[in-house]
Amino acid sequence: MLGRLRRGRRTIRPRRHIKPAFAQPCTPIRRDERNDVALETGRTRLLISGTVLILGFAVVGVRLVNIALFQDALEPRAAHAPHASELRMGRADIVDRNGEILATTLQTASLFANPRKILDADEAAHLLVSTLPGLREAEIAAKLKSNRGFVWLKRNLSPRQQWDIIKLGIPGVEFQSAETRVYPHGPLAAHVLGYVDIDNKGLAGVEKSFDTALRSNAAPIALTMDVRLQHLLRIELMAAMSTHRAIGATGIILDARHGDVMAMTSLPDFDPNAQGRASDNQRFNRATLGVYELGSTFKIFTTAMALDYGVVSMEDGYDATKPIRVSRFTIRDYHAKKRWLSVPEIFMYSSNIGSAKMARDVGGDAQREFLSQLGLLSPAPIELPEVGTPLTPKPWRPINTMTIGYGHGLAVSPLQLAVGVSSVVNGGILNRPTLIHRQPESEASNPPPRGDRVMSEETSQDLRRLMRLVVAKGTGGKAAAPGYLVGGKTGTAEKARRQGYNRRSLISSFVGAFPMTDPRYVVLVVLDEPQGTTKTHGFATGGWVAAPVVSRIVEHAAPLLGVGPTDEQAPAVLRQLDIELKPEGRRLASY
């Protein structure tokens, strides 16, 4: 290609009248001509290049005059102010359903020094420590004497502290403003809110799952939580935990009709303002991440399943005289009656034998389908990163079907249990649990998704009566809160250890709902390894340790939730919730 460039000579018009001034006569003519032509081209083009360059200098000159003499040249720069929309206010707030601030971002000043500019390090250190007593004088003096250009002295000062230091007037001491995430309620909702790192990046909880939205949006995120209920739940659980010397506790208050998580706590907890000091045990969210075999509370699902599939009716029953032996397992009753029990009796006395037989009659496949519809076999769809996956038996043998019938052999998170129970009592609709509050005004235009029907309304109605029965006459009597028609089910599970179960370490729970005529809220309380007290006669079962907590929570929460007391003996209530314990004539007919 380049070889052809020689043809470029076509474009050149040689001008003969300019002769090279000092052409050597001995040079061959051809070379001379060639030189002439080339020189001519070169000169023409040099004029073009030179002119362009000199024009460039002219532009520079004009511009210099313009800048130095006419301020107008600077005007657009000086007048540029950031538009309101460009101003970033930092990470968005998180508020509860009533607008109470749960997490916010504050501007704080951090103190640093340039030791090279410090005149008298000892004096400066003395002055600083007298203003900020938290600092150690020797340490500060050593920092100020170092040969570095930048040392941190103290982070996150209050405006008052900053002002005091400014007043000292120490040269070389300066501030850098930064944003700090603040949780005004401290540990109150630590596991739901989560926490952020030093760069305000969400590391856990809602802070992590909504990190992008919190960074980019100025609008706060409203949670379904209610700080009043959260506070109530937390102090009741803390009290129970200390009374019974439990190693942990968790509790949930769930809106049974919408799936809103009104309160959720996991103990022991931590202060997200100082998350760095929290232990792994404190950070662990027992309500959503922990999965447990929750024991007899599962009988709610077994009974609902058997009734809904038409395997049994409320009038049927099972023989519970002898423990069941299946291969190397023995299924016993804790409150053994050693006789035939009707379905309501099985539920009320929490008979393992009866529930196991009921589950066996329903069958493994149907049980799996039913439990999976209730969301008990897959992780809870909650807006938190910390969600535990249920532990299911593989393979699902007939013995597993029977033990799962009374809540062993399947580990689920407490949240999954609460959601499942809410679908049983609310008329048979499973609602997706949520932490994000839907504003009432947006609800009209954007109705919440209706949940899926998982059982018939009749089954749900039967279960309401059964759960009320447990509190009125059965193992859950201590959960009663006069006027609020609490119903529920106790659960006491032995914790699995390497081989078999440990009789001494229990997971004791109570899941309740109120008012049972038309349940609006589900309350779950779980205590991890509670110990009996003299007051509980040494018992540490769900009925003794968890049920009273639910009672107190309902008593205090109902007025806050706008649930008024009703006359528990009113004929309409009794008619709705009454139950026939031992239907006549059935006993002989069955066996």
Binding site: R7, N35, G42, F57, A68
Partner: protein
Amino acid sequence: MPAIARDDSSIFGRWWWTVDRWTLLGIGVLMAFGMMLIFAASPPVAERIGLDPLHFVRRQSIVLFPSIIVLLFVSMLTVRGVRRLSAIAFGGAIALMVLTLLIGPEIKGAQRWVVISGLSVQPSEFVKPAFAIIAAWIFASRRLGADIPGYWMSAGLYAAVMALLLMQPDVGQAIVISVIWFSQWFLAGLPMIWVGLFCVLGFVACIGAYLLFPHVANRIDRFLNLSAGDTYQVDRAMEAFLNGGLLGRGPGHGTVKVYIPDAHADFILAVAGEEFGLIACLFIVLLFAAILVRGFSRILHDSNLFVVLAATGLLLQFGLQALINMASTINLMPTKGMTLPFISYGGSSLLALAFGMGALLALTRKRVGGQE
């Protein structure tokens, strides 16, 4: 200078009567002005980075004297001598550039310096004049019918220099060398269709540099979008010019200059603007322009194609560097690491420019006949 007689036939006497004394004077004035401005601009910079206030002044004056020697010595060479010296300088500079990539310390994200017995040298400064002379030599020989693959040879050398520069990376120098090389080829009779093609190619290369080198993209973004990013240095420069006004604040009375990080190097014109005013700035601009016009007129009357091409290349390098530096200081184009010839602080730059302008003076000396 009556001391030198017209018929003095000593080496010095012949040199004096053949050399372009006006250009020599112009360079002398630039050097003096530069020294004065470094006195004004560098003490705050030196203090800020914890050095003795006169550190830069001292270092610059140490290089100034050798530079003058180099300038005078090279300007006394014959055309052939210039060519030979350039070939040696070119080889040496290329070798040093390779060495830079291998052992050079990384400063502000680029490897451009190499330390030779305590002196840090930027070899790419020396490549510029040497390459211009070598390229002119090849173009002229090819144009005058020598049987060599001239275009391929010069393109090969160009590619090698480019590769070394872009690996440092030093996009600014690469652009200057590209423009010089292209202009020399243009003068050597590049057909117009190719001129158009190369313009398009250059444009594509600029876009490529923008996409490939983050620091280039950053500077161009800052230039195009005034509100985005850090335009601190250019903003301060504007303030300095404004503060200086027509007559300046007077030597040593500048206040804005203290806040310009590169006041002694790339932004020295702003210091001139603040302390000596618009008049001084225009004087500097005129001085550069005068040296250029003077050089071009000498070249126009020369009849040796090699001399025309080589001198144009050297003159363009000088002019372009001045233009780019001034234009970026007054925010007419994105900032480029380019010194203001003979004025800015920088030892390598000063020495290389002395060599280049010495060569220019040597090439434009009046010669009798085809004497080389």
